[in-house]
């Protein structure tokens, strides 16, 4: 059908469009030529380019439609990387969302859209799973910033529950439920060839119904082809596995599993298990609490570029050694924990093997998610704070070469 260029519909002509609208929507423009329903003749000259502005192209129209589906409310968090707002669906105010507005134009990044934004967008757009935060929509705002509409998770995060020792009490069944949800999320990522690379309690948000949701894919990446190098400088330090601390450039899902193990341990003892203040300290803690990585327990480890360990070699602790501190989850739970913190990534349990572990089938059963302990307040703010954060790459560690050179000196003196 030939559309005469001279009768393109104008904004005015669409004021009585068929869309059921409130008055605020009346001035919506459509650039897609459509049959002119109201019979008003369109004069092409009514919208001189110089007088009013620009009509919307179809792609811009699509964006406007998407944006219009949500109403943005109060600010939940503000950061240099992103602001987070509470919002709701226009058609139903009871449908709450979080709108993460990523600042595309950043002072520190002059090369267009920042890596975090690209990664988060790429992976959240593809991964659909009940234990991964849902990306409901994406639109751009007028100031050319990226808005991610995420499901609203009002009950804060796991860190909040772990830390509030006085008011939040939980037991082995609760830990089993949370761990189950976390493990399924990680299994799903890995089964889709995605590494999360920043698993930690404050990236595990909690939905209104108690479901745990893995969030923040700003450091995620796809599995590399064999031989292709990746950065070792990922995962927040306390949750970072030894191979990354030793500078491994080729790795797989095992890096996330270590983090899962650290979260597991933290859930049990209600404090970070290995909380080093520096990379040096982190390695020292791993050696002390888990065992010193050597050629015996981890063939090839000494070949890693940054391999350095304290001179006093600690043998790898057996299961029994963990029973005292972590026994609350029972011998099967401890068995699973020990497998997640195997020093050699090749021997570390996989997410799928974790799901097949017998612990899930032994008593106590995982708590139903509705019955899980929760905090009554502060969750909203916590979500705001969690989502606006920049992830895992810490400022003081960005110059990793320097800090790793320093590490060797420290070990030399630490006798």
């Amino acid at each position: 059908m030939a559309v005469s260029p001279l009768v393109a519909p104008t904004t005015d002509a669409l004021q009585s469009s068929s869309r059921p609208t409130s008055s605020s929507l009346k001035r919506q423009a459509s650039a897609v030529p459509s049959s002119n329903g109201n019979g008003t003749p369109n004069l092409p000259s009514t919208r001189a380019a110089g007088s009013g502005g620009m009509t919307l192209d179809p792609i811009e129209q699509l964006n406007e439609d998407e944006k219009r589906k949500y109403i943005k409310g109060k600010k939940l968090g503000e950061g240099t990387y992103a602001n987070v707002y509470l919002g709701h669906a226009r058609h139903d105010p009871s449908v709450l969302v979080a709108i993460k507005k990523i600042k595309v134009l950043q002072q520190t990044y002059r090369d267009g859209m920042a890596p975090d934004a690209v990664r988060e967008l790429k992976y959240l757009r593809e991964l659909h799973h009940p234990n991964i935060i849902s990306l409901l929509s994406v639109f751009s705002s007028k100031d050319q910033n990226l808005n991610l509409v995420l499901e609203y998770l009002p009950l804060g995060d796991l860190e909040m529950l772990i830390r509030d020792v006085d008011r939040v009490r939980y037991g082995a069944g609760d830990i089993k439920a949370w761990m189950g949800m976390l493990t399924r999320a990680v299994w799903f990522c890995h089964d889709n060839f995605v590494l999360h690379r920043d698993i930690k309690p404050n990236n595990l948000l909690i939905a209104a119904d108690g479901e745990v949701k893995l969030a923040d894919f700003g450091l995620a990446r796809s599995f590399a082809d064999p031989g292709r190098r990746m950065t070792a400088n990922v995962i927040t330090r306390w949750y970072r596995p030894p191979e990354l601390l030793f500078g491994a450039r080729h790795y797989g899902g095992a890096v996330d599993i270590w983090s899962v193990g650290m979260v597991f341990a933290e859930l049990i003892i209600r404090a970070p298990f290995l909380a080093g203040n520096t990379e040096v300290e982190q390695i020292a803690l791993i050696c002390k609490q888990i065992g010193t990585p050597t050629e015996d327990n981890w063939p090839g480890v000494t070949q890693l570029r940054e391999y350095t360990v304290p001179s006093e070699v600690v043998p790898v602790w057996g299961k029994e050694a963990y029973m005292g501190r972590f026994g609350a989850v029972g011998p099967d739970g401890v068995d699973l924990l020990v497998r997640t913190v195997a020093l050699d990534p090749k021997k570390r349990i996989t997410a799928r093997e974790m799901l097949e572990h017998r612990w899930w089938r032994t008593e106590p059963k995982p708590t139903r998610k509705e019955d899980l302990p929760r905090k009554s307040s502060g969750g909203e703010e916590k979500m705001g704070a969690d989502l606006r954060r920049r992830n895992g790459l810490l400022e003081d560690e960005s110059n990793s070469r320097g800090s790793k050179v320093a590490r060797k000196l420290d070990f030399g003196q630490a006798k």
């Binding site: 092409p44 002059r110 267009g112 050319q144």
Partner: protein, 419 residues
Amino acid sequence: MATEDARYRESSQYQLWSFSPTQLAAMREKTNAAARARIAQRLSSMPASSRNTSAPTSSANTPDPDGASTPALPEFLTPAEEALLVTFNTSELLRAGDHAEMSDEIKATAAAFFRRFYVTNSVMTYPPTEMLMVALYFACKAEGVFLSITDFIKTFGRENPEEIIAGEFLLCQGLRFAIDVKHPFRALRGAVMELGTFPDIEPARLAAAEQRAREILRFSPLITDAYFHYTPSQIMLAALSLADRGLAERLIAETFHYVAPPANNSGAETPASSGPDAPAPSRKPAPRSDGEDKAQIIGSHIRDKVLGTIEACRDMLSKELPERREHWTNKAVIKAQITPLRKKLNKCHDPERWNLVELQRARREQASKKADSEDGDAEDKAGGGTIEPDGAVFGGPLPRDTKRRKMGKGLEDPFGPPL
């Protein structure tokens, strides 16, 4: 989420960017028609002297008895002509990627981005020669390679980084923010590894087939509509079939020789898989699941369908075999087919959208003006229910237009500026 097929259907590549040939043609028609309508409107609302072309068509030279109120419009590109320009520029994009020594995945992602963008955007609206560079830069990021823009443009002897950055967001929006593209390269590697396990297949034959198939994958599906119509594994099999039909047929035969066992899902539920979407693998003992999955997706009735699809894909790829690279750089071809379209495009492009840098600047200016007046948050108001007239949404008159109008008056009006 049991099968790979089910997984693929969840991907944005399938959900947003897969079409039948009829659907795709209809979308391109619609994009073309809409662009003509808008550009005509924009051109006719500008004084004739301010247009960037003095004589858009031969009729424009004819004295207009009614004066300048209805200036003649240029001849627009047809959907077929747009398609030709997109294809030609895809070839240019791949050449640029080769020049910069980018990986196969990055070049392929860039080509997919570029072609997706021009499904819903006309080459008359946004300049394809610019957008192909934008697609290359953004594809690097999408594939996890974060180059500085200065390094990137240096590779191409360009000087203004803004030209790339200005189009990035536009591209991303045109991709409907779906930036994960699935390619057939790994599928080929897997197929070759599987074929390698058959003792009767000679390694030399296999190596030659892999090399040729890879060469095809680097070009043929990227410059055609294959990514819109076929899955990565179908594209891979089609390419392998072009390289060595016997090997492709062998692979399909081996896949379908499987005799389906009775469907059996009675594995014990584990507590960990109690949710409705719990991972399926945990329900079954690992050694059996492969066979069961196969049984579910490989019935012999599907084989014919698969073969037909691969044949169709093969036909599409065979129209642009790697040897056609020379066709798209052949001077005579360019002179005969491309140059006339470029000339046409010079006259019929969108006056408001063509300059990406100016477009971006105008939008930013508008947004920051709004931000000032609304206490720091440009779209809180709009989000709260006030929708501005569209003029305000994308900024007022572009500075470039006003400037050109002034200049145009001064330079071109034969009667000189007004007194």
